[in-house]
């Protein structure tokens, strides 16, 4: 790979906070928090640098030597998050988090590339709407529910951790 792949641009809102990047994907209603390591690689993707240049940029920003695998792992995470132009990704290898951690040592654990993901719920998920123990019915025509609460039309199901009745 001579040049890093381009980030996927349409429908993205990006905000930088203390070295991290928060990215909102309006097409999929997903939000991502890129830690400083992944954020640096993302910026290198924007300017179409080579993997070696991305590594050198990381070394400058983080103030220590960085193995190439960190760049590949960051790219892998960005690709999994769907934040890269799919047609452009052809990483030569996909190192695991464990392999990278071993090379970085314990002191480098905080620099391991991490992308945290959130599925942004619709506004109606905030409705205090659920089963009425008195009537044994759910009055709301609402797919989202409060995690752990009883849900469903006849209140026989339990609300799953993702906020859907299951």
């Amino acid at each position: 790979m001579d040049r890093l792949p381009l980030p996927r641009v349409p429908d993205l809102v990006v905000r930088e906070l203390a070295g991290e990047l928060v990215v909102y994907d309006g097409a999929r209603h997903r939000a991502f928090c890129l830690n400083p390591t992944v954020a640096s690689v993302w910026k290198s993707c924007q300017s179409r640098r080579s993997p070696a240049e991305a590594r050198r940029r990381l070394e400058r920003e983080l103030g220590r030597e960085i193995p190439d695998d960190v760049v590949w792992l960051a790219l892998d995470q960005l690709q999994r998050a769907g934040l890269l132009d799919e047609s452009e990704v052809s990483a030569p290898h996909h190192p695991s988090r464990r392999q990278v951690l071993r090379r970085m040592g314990a002191a480098g654990a905080a620099l391991i590339p991490v992308v945290a993901t959130l599925v942004v719920p619709p506004a109606v998920a905030a409705a205090s709407c659920g089963c009425n123990a008195k009537t044994g019915t759910n009055a709301c025509n609402n797919a989202h529910c409060a995690v752990g609460a009883r849900c469903g039309k006849t209140c026989t199901k339990t609300c799953q951790p993702n906020g859907n009745c299951g």
């Binding site: 928090c33 905030a126 089963c131 009425n132 009537t135």
Partner: protein, 275 residues
């Protein structure tokens, strides 16, 4: 919508809140006072019948035959949101959905689903879904001396300051499957905050019986991600929401962890902000 419009509408209320014009109509005049009582804080009546959004309450009752009962129905435009045999539940849910609409579409403020109190010139936000124990913790904070700002929504301006939205607290004193009971802040011997405050602390927590309060501190980016989960307009206006949340998460401490007893945690939270 045509079918709905042909029903006999006995009463209508039009109001403006957060730059939005909203109408509520009902099929019986007896619910007029109840509808006026469920309007969002700061709502003011408008004369124009033109509204951005129309809610309709079809009041149920005895049916045409013995043993048949007409349900109470709540609509937002043509979409049915609620059907229930209990008028109280229909009114409660009408209130929830009117406030949700305002919270999602507000033109100037960003609404975060969170309880809020003020303490020593700074706001403490407790974001959380329904049944997470948010109201119980807010009540404990108020009883411990914090000023009450909201039980339901944190209203943020473009500088990330938190404004009051002082609706009565909704406490589920009879269990999670029972409707909440409303308590005014005066009933809790508390006071209501009046001026906007910068956020000092965001507490992301959920009640779990027996859990110890050992929160971890989140970075501003992770904090913003967590708050997007509770920002009502996150899907509708992500750019504006992120712009309002950014100064908040940069200045405030963000803690996340399970909690047990609300009283113990309330004291520790206030201590964290110089209590």
């Amino acid at each position: 919508m045509g079918k709905l419009d042909r029903l006999g509408w006995a009463v209508g209320v039009a109001f403006e809140a957060q730059g939005l014009r909203i109408g509520i109509r009902a099929t019986t005049p007896e619910v007029h006072e109840r509808i006026v009582g469920l309007l969002p804080p700061g709502a003011r009546p408008v004369r124009s019948p033109e509204v951005d959004q129309l809610f309709s309450l079809v009041v149920g009752g005895p049916g045409p035959r013995a043993g048949v009962r007409r349900l109470n129905l709540v609509y937002q435009e043509a979409k049915m949101l609620v059907r229930t045999p209990e008028l109280e539940e229909a009114l409660r849910m009408l209130e929830v959905f009117v406030h949700l609409y305002v919270a999602e579409r507000a033109r100037r403020r960003v609404f975060v689903h969170a309880g809020v109190v003020g303490w020593r010139g700074r706001a403490i936000l407790v974001p959380g879904r329904s049944l997470s124990g948010k109201s119980t913790l807010v009540a404990a904070l108020v009883q411990a001396g914090a000023a009450y700002y909201s039980d339901e929504f944190a209203l943020l301006d473009s500088r990330g300051r938190v404004h009051p939205y002082p609706i009565p607290l909704a406490l589920r004193v009879d269990g999670p499957d029972r409707p909440p009971v409303k308590r005014t802040v005066e009933m809790l011997s508390g006071t209501v905050g009046e001026r906007p405050l910068p956020a000092g602390l965001v507490v992301l927590t959920r009640y779990e019986a027996g859990a110890r309060w050992r929160p971890r501190r989140l970075s501003p980016g992770r904090g913003l991600l967590e708050l997007l989960d509770h920002a009502l307009a996150a899907r509708y206006a992500p750019s504006r929401v992120m712009a309002a949340l950014a100064p908040l998460v940069t200045r405030a401490t963000i803690l996340k962890g399970r909690r047990g007893d609300a009283w113990t945690v309330a004291e520790r939270i206030l201590y964290h902000l110089g209590g």
